[in-house]
Point group: C2
Chain length 271, copies 2
């Protein structure tokens, strides 16, 4: 006999007595989800531990398996549990958050290390690694607008996948006008010490500003795979435009970060 039997009877009695409150009958699958969530936050099911199997929960609560699965789906979409076929459902360990340093784009920070991602790694104390793919294409409407060039102009595109301690944490795609990158190391996979921004400056485009546009959304299925995201975890999106002396935009950088592992840190003047 499950706990829900009495709970439901209570609800029914409340309805019968026609109390004026708006309290709705709580569906069984919600009750189960709430119960399990409570056990997790209370520590009864510690982080990383296996929670009872679906069939065990069927027994315990006295409800059918679809209803149990409905409850577990809720917790999964909230990012509370992690389900593995053939193994079971685990309490999701909360990963450490990498805080993107507020000064990550300052000239000094850029000179001190190999690039912004490697700089973040140095600040955060984790081991970075990057996979790069370079290709060329015609600028579409959006990129052309952000780079202030004509649509169709050839641009150099750098796709990168960044890892922290081997775990994929960030996807980035940069677009640079080809007239800046042509015959430079920017069209190679490794841009050398100081990163791409150092090379851009060496070619006479002194950077003055970075503009960042921050949003958030659920990951696409591609991102879900490449960032190894769990269900119910959104991504942070950052579009950065690097602006050189004279106001010319020289790079657009679209970043996708696991919201579970990243926070962005900004410092703004009050003036």
């Amino acid at each position: 006999m499950g706990v829900l039997t009495s709970a439901r009877r209570d609800q029914r009695e409340r309805r019968v007595t026609a109390v004026a409150d708006n309290a709705r009958r709580v569906p069984a699958y919600r009750q189960v989800a709430d119960d399990l969530r409570a056990r997790i936050v209370s520590g009864e099911y510690p982080s990383g531990s296996l929670i009872p199997s679906e069939r065990e929960l069927v027994e315990e609560f006295g409800i059918s398996r679809p209803t149990v699965r409905n409850a577990l789906d809720l917790l999964r979409n909230e990012g509370v549990i992690l389900v593995e076929h053939g193994r079971g459902a685990f309490v999701r360990p909360t990963p450490t958050v990498h805080r993107l340093a507020r000064n990550r784009l300052s000239r000094k920070a850029r000179e001190d290390n190999q690039g912004t991602f490697l700089g973040d790694a140095a600040t955060g104390g984790w081991t970075p690694s990057v996979s790069v793919r370079v290709r060329f294409e015609s600028a579409d409407e959006r990129i052309a607008g952000l780079l202030a060039i004509a649509p169709g102009t050839e641009v150099c595109v750098r796709d990168r996948l960044m890892r922290a301690d081997g775990i994929p944490v960030q996807l980035a795609t940069s677009w640079l006008p080809r007239d800046i990158t042509r015959d430079s190391v920017l069209e190679q996979m490794d841009t050398g010490p100081g990163g791409a921004y150092a090379r851009i400056e060496e070619m006479g485009h002194r950077l003055t500003m970075f503009e960042e546009l921050v949003g958030s959304r659920m990951p696409t299925s591609d991102e879900l795979v490449s960032l190894q995201l769990a269900a119910g975890i959104p991504v942070l999106t950052v579009t950065r435009v690097a602006i050189a002396e004279g106001g010319r935009p020289v790079e657009v950088n679209d970043m996708v970060l696991s919201s579970e592992r990243y926070q962005l840190h900004y410092m703004l003047s009050a003036e």
Copy 2:
């Protein structure tokens, strides 16, 4: 007879021929979701329109209702459709994005209008309204740390719900040390022209810096209700610390924004 019958037979034949590819059998509910999603992006089901009812889809695809619901749940969690009990499922219209201005915290912007939210409204051209609740409590660990005060010190807490054109778009909670707010309009609901920051400066705390920490997560059930969020839409979280001359933090502000309706805009110096 549904479209899936032949699709599934194809899969089975492919398995029998033992082709070396890793193509898995695609579950029926996934196929239905993919099909419906394709119809939506193709424009066959325009934005805001009603898609066929669950029972109609059962007929069309020749599958059971639980399977249809499974497919619709997918689309719902992706934010593709919006389901209303008793009415049907609608193609989700993509709402307009409010871009939080890069200069929203500059002194000039603050002087020009009633506060940052009202300033954003002026920039974005929508009609703002705010509900405020003021209360007092003891600072917990986190707030005390951010405000550089002793835990347990009494603080003034301002809870706000901001609306754009009547639609709730932002939740904010501010903590201010009571020694700053005592006997001031900051403990009233309406802080007057220029907003809270203007009052803080009038009391002799000239603001020099704002620090912002940006993250993202799925909404809590409370936030889901008060921000009227659809399933599958994450929220942006911003923790802002206002720092006065001399380096003293004078306000901590936790903001929760619908990621669907907000983007944050930052401008960073390259120096």
